[in-house]
């Protein structure tokens, strides 16, 4: 091995060690725990694939998959579209744009727990949201969090409110990276704004789109904080907010079923991996470059 390679390894070593301890070891441990009956209170006992077989009959787990998929759907596609629209708005020049941009970005700044507390107050049955909606609904009370139909929708809306500004900023960076000459050339060639957006901007935004789609999907699959902090009984009512992330916590730290919690986390990991690979696969095809 050349001296230069040895030095290279030496400089990489801290990162490798950090990764091995804080990422690789927990992943491997989680995988191994998923093959054990582990109550947290006693050393784990090997059970092979039994936990995986049991999960197929576990109603709570099966429900958590549908709850998670619903949440993913509600917090990805609408977020992609609305954040792109917002980016298009803020890409235009208009008076007060910078101030508005800061205000629009504000929901990203507080922690999700703070957001949860604020929205829990605003969406109190007879709170501000009910008052604002009263002219349309005529209702004195709206049960945003305890109604099994409204509750997951409320979670999605709160999540979207806090994530759209973040992805807007990513789209905005992507839009800014597209040279004006290309748009001007399209306009000279007779393209209208919609055609310019569809044929010029959108293809060139593909790398940004892949990033936004992948990150938002992964985050949505891992949903935990809002459901933990807002939903009644942590995941309720009737488990309509028990996402897989929340179920992992419940199984591991509330029910002392760490083996089952690890199994759910492995399944969640596999789901995220499959969806991400699918997204990356779909994003391939004709590549557009500015070079």
């Amino acid at each position: 091995m050349q001296r230069r390679q040895i030095w290279g390894l030496f400089f990489v070593l801290p990162t490798v060690i950090f990764f091995a301890i804080f990422f690789l070891y927990p992943i491997v441990s989680g995988l191994l725990f998923s093959l054990t009956d582990f109550t947290l209170l006693r050393p784990p006992e090997w059970v092979g694939l039994q936990n995986y077989a049991d999960l197929l009959k576990d109603r709570l787990f099966l429900k958590s998959i549908s709850v998670t998929l619903g949440f993913v759907l509600g917090t990805t596609v609408p977020v992609w579209i609305l954040s792109l629209l917002a980016a298009k708005v803020f890409y235009q020049r208009f008076a007060g744009r910078e101030i508005l941009k800061v205000l629009f970005f504000a929901p990203v700044l507080p922690s999700l727990v703070v957001v949860a507390i604020v929205w829990r107050i605003l969406m109190n049955p007879s709170g501000v949201m009910t008052t604002l909606l009263r002219p349309f609904t005529g209702l004195g009370e709206i049960d945003f969090f305890n109604n099994p139909t409204l509750s997951p929708i409320s979670m999605i809306l709160i999540n979207d409110w806090t994530t759209i500004p973040f992805y807007m900023l990513i789209w905005l960076a992507g839009l800014t990276g597209i040279p004006l000459e290309l748009r001007d050339a399209a306009l000279v060639d007779g393209a209208n704004r919609w055609q310019s957006f569809l044929r010029i901007e959108l293809p060139l935004l593909r790398p940004t789109a892949v990033f936004v789609a992948a990150i938002s999907t992964i985050n949505a699959f891992q949903a935990f904080t809002l459901q933990y902090a807002i939903s009644p009984g942590r995941g309720g009512p009737i488990d309509v907010n028990t996402t897989m992330g929340l179920l992992i916590w419940k199984y591991g730290f509330q029910f002392y079923r760490m083996g089952d919690a690890s199994t759910v986390s492995v399944v969640l990991f596999a789901l995220i991996l499959i969806v991400t690979i699918l997204q990356l696969g779909l994003s391939r095809g004709e590549q557009y470059s500015l070079e």
Binding site: G233, G236, Y256
Partner: protein
């Protein structure tokens, strides 16, 4: 040369043989874990310093853990083979701890008693209040805090409704509904502005701390903690569930959608609350609530006089600790629980030691006799393996009926089966 060699060898042998002796005579260290309760911590530290001074052969490593991190921190510490030797454990997860063989039986002599019977004799209502740490007739702990709930009335809100809690406080659940209606205030749109009374809906453990005791008053019991079976599809459960359902959907006096009852009571938006313990008094004082305390209602046709479930914290010793450490831990537990008056005065924590309960100071206390009277007739919540999972399932069942509008005929048999499955699985672990 040979003699010098033998001399050196013997000297070395002596030195080596002395090492374990010296080590064995060193102080025993007891790792003690308590949850954070600021008023209690200072007193703990003061008493531990006194204990160490009186017992120079015992060192105490005192650790406090925030309440919300307790279960996770303790479980992971025990899983890693470490964890405390002595810990202050709530009765809720105690069934799991017992089932997993973590608890060491009490050593009465080390704890300062002649025998186990002497421990029961040292407590007022010893048989029923120490039952929280008894499994298969063996005592596993000494109580640091005994609790049950009583009803707090906001006297000002009652007076505003033309009622006097001293004379009008209901003794039955049936009467409570009528009184709550008089105390309830709605705005012009029908929205509740002030509730007269409401249950605690937000946390699943209240299905076992409040709902099940109401079932027990009628002669039923959802969970048999000895045989680990569930009886949920019963007339008693139907009656209580029907009452809770009517409370929300027919009489519209409250429900899970509203602010948690304790918060609402302290904010002056709820006139009566029945799930504060004696530890609620400082919160009433801080909130400026003019309050009075009353026994829990019973059913008009109750067959059992129990109030809400008793729950407690107990000093428990880790069965994985060495015998010397276990003995030292029980000695420390015995010492710390020998100061009930101080813990009550400083931290509001109640231990029913006769030395305290029979004192003049206790007799002069305005509220504690009510709580003690309620504890004396009450039962512990079921101390089962899978406690939190069972509570979670019960809450889900309750919500299917009350929030989801499903029929009890459908939900209760399914719920009974689900809880039986949970109990069987938890017991088998």
């Amino acid at each position: 040369m040979f003699r010098r060699f033998v001399l050196a060898f013997v000297t070395l042998l002596l030195i080596v043989s002395m090492v374990p002796t010296a080590y064995g005579q060193g102080p025993v260290t007891v790792k003690l874990w308590m949850h954070v309760h600021p008023p209690r911590v200072a007193l703990d530290e003061e008493l531990i310093a006194q204990f160490e001074a009186e017992n120079p052969d015992i060192d105490v490593e005192y650790t406090t853990v925030p309440d919300q991190e307790w279960d996770t921190a303790l479980a992971t510490a025990l899983a890693s083979g470490g964890g405390p030797d002595l810990f202050n454990q709530a009765t809720f997860a105690m069934g799991d701890f017992y089932n997993q063989g973590i608890l060491a039986p009490i050593d009465p002599v080390a704890a300062g008693y002649a025998d186990v019977q002497a421990i029961f004799d040292a407590y007022s209502f010893g048989d029923s209040l120490l039952a929280g740490a008894v499994f298969d007739d063996v005592l596993y702990g000494l109580p640091t805090e005994l609790s049950t709930y009583a009803c707090y009335a906001n006297d000002d809100l009652w007076a505003a409704a033309g009622l006097d809690p001293a004379t009008d406080f209901p003794s039955t659940w049936e009467e409570l509904k009528d009184v709550a209606e008089q105390l309830t205030i709605r705005d012009e749109s029908g929205a509740l502005v002030q509730r007269g009374f409401d249950f605690h809906w937000g946390n699943s453990i209240f299905t076992l701390l409040i709902f099940n005791p109401m079932v027990q008053q009628l002669g039923g019991n959802m969970i048999d903690e000895v045989n680990l079976t569930a009886s949920i599809d019963t007339p008693e459960v139907r009656q209580v569930m029907g009452y809770w359902n009517d409370w929300v959907n027919t009489w519209k006096l409250g429900g899970p959608q509203y602010e948690i009852d304790r918060t609402a009571f302290l904010a002056g938006n709820l006139a009566t609350d029945c799930d504060f313990g004696n530890w609620g008094v400082p919160q009433m004082v801080d909130a400026g609530i003019n309050y009075s305390i009353h026994p829990q209602p019973r059913w008009a046709e109750a067959v059992s006089n129990n109030a809400m479930a008793t729950y407690a914290y107990f000093f428990m010793v880790n069965s994985g600790a060495s015998p010397e450490v276990q003995a030292a831990a029980w000695k420390l537990a015995g010492f710390l629980t020998d100061h009930p008056q101080e813990y009550f005065d400083v931290a509001g924590l109640f231990q029913s030691k006769k030395s305290f309960v029979e004192s003049e100071a206790f007799a002069e206390n305005e509220i504690m006799p009510i709580f003690l009277q309620e504890m004396g007739v009450s039962l512990y919540h079921p101390r089962i393996p899978g406690f939190f999972e069972v509570a979670d399932a019960l809450m889900r069942g309750r919500d299917r009926i009350i929030v989801g509008g499903e029929s009890m005929d459908v939900v209760l048999p399914e719920l009974e089966q689900e809880v039986n499955d949970i109990l069987a699985r938890a017991a088998a672990r």
